[in-house]
Amino acid sequence: MTVAQGVSNGTYAIETRDLSVYYGSFRAVKNVNLRLEPRKITALIGPSGCGKSTVLRTLNRMNDLVPGARVEGEVLFQGKNLYARDVDAVEVRRRIGMVFQKPNPFPKSIYDNIAFGPRINGWKGSKADMDNLVEASLRGAALWDEVKDKLHESGLALSGGQQQRLCIARALATQPEIILMDEPCSALDPISTLKVEELMFELRRNYTIIIVTHNMQQAARASDYTAFFLMDSDRAGQLIEYGPTQQLFTKPSDKRTEDYISGRFG
């Protein structure tokens, strides 16, 4: 297993050790060891069904919601295993935010979409404080100028790209430490995609971002590190190679990585 070539030393934002995920008796992901750098963008790439989304969803225990899903191995976050018995999944998700493949704003106003997260997480403050938090979150997601005059209109009335940025703003409002993005641009047009990518670069200053994408150009231009996954013969996803994006795309050390990024399969 190749682990973290050329990755700087120090503390990691999140680290998996021998991570395997099962759906019922089917092993979807096998022995993944991944150390993710803080305040960087890491892209998980690979062909369909290689387990990259599954790995992403184990990082904030979203897979707990899937009946029959089971995790072996460890996911270390700030020195603690997220799958330890005494760790509450709600706390994990509160601290590791997520943006989904399809924009999924709540059928509420833009304002309430942002305010929901803080409110349910025990936020305290005045109405003016909340206004400020909503504005800061929307500014953080580069959406403020477009929606500042219609904060009380439905979030569903926005365009697809705006909806996805609203979802990012919503994730920012709870001030997570890591943001997971599961193919956030797959339902967006190229211009909206570009906006989300620019936004990711902005967010990198304060957040660790882990993004699943099946678009290799996106991984190449918008990430600092890339992890390549592939199914093995018994259809379990494996980590094939992981390293700085530049290096992985120009001088891959594994033949299979080279085949994939040069478009020979997948």
């Binding site: 904030n60 979203m62 919601l65 009946p67 709600v90 706390e91 998700r93 509160r94 601290r95 935010g97 997520m98 989904f100 399809k102 999924n104 704003p105 709540f106 059928p107 929901f116 997260g117 349910i120 997480n121 979802c167 919503r170 994730a171 709870t174």
Partner: protein, 426 residues
């Protein structure tokens, strides 16, 4: 025509017959025309099925309307014109009392006076008494709407022959009086106020019990319960319960609510003066059991139809299961839940069998005043009236059916309005 497909660069396939497709223009057109014709036959069959349904419904409505309106033949023992030189409507209360005293036996007068002194009764009450005991105005024959309109001459001839003293008059059996008068053993004086109030009380209590319990059970099954065999067993049985005949629920209600829980359902345990367990509360509890599976099933469907992306969005922000259910799942599922509830409510309003088993009375003069009153309901009343020998009871049964239909429609309309309001919000 046979076709052989070349295998390209691959190894040549062994020679096999490949059948034939229509190929000339004429053949293709003929084939398409034949397929179209087959479709048209089905289309007419489907339209016929719909027409049959509409026809059956229209016939039902016509029958009801036919019975509820039409000509009626009145006879009276004493002509009201003989009682006074002015019409009864113009007389004052003391004059009316005088007429009443003069025309009934002393014993009867004393009886009414003991019930409630005549001097204290209103002019309308006394006038009613005169009509009832002195004039004895009664319907001796009645005709349906169709007959009254189309065969007017024949009806008049028949009346003249059979009831020489009778007066032919138009009569609508549904009227404000019909709605507001209590029961009576004389059909033309009978009203459905007690039955209407009984139905409304029962439906309200039923919904109050069944809606929260049903929705809560559905939420538990969909959002909290695991997939254990035990839960699957419960689910299957809820589905089965929806198909249990209503009379069996009646037996259950009789055994549990009326008999076993009598202290509670009669209200004695709660300080009310209940006589027995045959109360509105027992009926409502029975009806609630009856429609509970309906509500649970439809609420579960509605909850399941909430997109999982909505749940994930909520969980992804660190919401607990309950917060997700309360803030997102329930509001999104509410229109669907209400649709199922409307169906359940209509069912509860129209069921007769369980009410009869649980012990709805058919003759009640006093209005139901609360959950511990004995009661009657519209369907029970209709059932009772249609089984009476006098023809006139069938007329008021038709009128009561119209009232029941109107009640159902207005309840449904209210629920649909409520549902649409929620739809607009989400």
């Amino acid at each position: 025509m046979s076709v052989s497909l070349s295998a390209g660069t691959e190894a040549p396939a062994p020679e096999r017959a490949l059948g034939s497709l229509p190929s000339t223009d004429a053949e293709i057109r003929r084939n398409i025309a034949a397929r179209r014709a087959r479709g048209a036959v089905w289309r007419w069959l489907f339209a016929g099925a719909l027409a049959f349904g509409i026809l059956a419904l229209a016939t039902l409505l016509c029958t009801v309307v036919d019975g509820a309106f039409g000509l009626a033949v009145y006879e009276h023992s004493v002509d009201p014109r003989e009682l006074s030189d002015r019409s009864l409507e113009e007389l004052s209360q003391p004059e009316l009392v005088e007429i009443f005293r003069a025309n009934v036996s002393a014993g009867l007068f004393r009886r009414y006076d003991r019930e409630r002194p005549l001097a204290e009764r209103s002019a309308e009450d006394v006038r009613e008494l005169i009509y009832e005991r002195v004039v004895e105005r009664r319907v001796v024959a009645s005709y349906g709407l169709g007959e009254s309109l189309l065969r007017r001459a024949a009806v008049e001839r028949e009346t003249a022959e059979r009831h020489p003293g009778g007066v032919l008059e138009w009569r609508s059996w549904v009227s404000l009086d019909f709605l507001t008068r209590p029961m009576s053993s004389v059909p033309e004086r009978a009203g459905i106020r007690t039955a209407l109030l009984g139905s409304v009380w029962m439906i309200a209590l039923t919904m109050l019990i069944a809606f929260p319990v049903g929705v809560a059970a559905a939420i538990y099954l969909e959002e909290f319960a695991g997939r254990s065999w035990w839960n699957r067993l419960i689910e299957t049985n809820i589905n089965n319960l929806a198909g249990v005949p209503s009379i069996i629920y009646g037996m259950l209600g009789l055994a549990i609510f009326v008999r076993a829980l009598e202290p509670l359902t009669s209200g004695r345990a709660l300080g009310a003066e209940g006589v027995n367990g045959r109360t509105i509360l027992s009926a409502a509890l029975t009806m609630a059991l009856l429609i509970l599976p309906l509500i649970i099933i439809s609420a579960r469907e509605a909850i399941r139809a909430v997109p999982s992306s909505l749940r994930e969005a909520s969980y992804g922000l660190g919401a607990t299961r309950w917060q997700t259910v309360w803030h997102h799942v329930l509001p999104s599922a509410l229109p669907g839940i209400l649709t199922g509830t409307i169906l359940g409510m209509s069912r509860a309003a129209g069921e007769t069998a369980p009410l009869i088993v649980v012990g709805a009375s058919t003759f009640i003069v006093s209005d139901p005043s609360g959950p511990f009153s004995s009661f009657t309901a519209l369907p029970v009343q209709i059932y009772n009236w249609t089984s009476q020998p006098q023809e006139t009871f069938r007329d008021i049964a038709a009128a009561a059916i119209l009232v029941l239909l109107a009640l159902l429609l207005s309840l449904n309309a209210a629920a649909v309005l409520l549902r649409n309001r929620f739809r607009r919000m989400y």
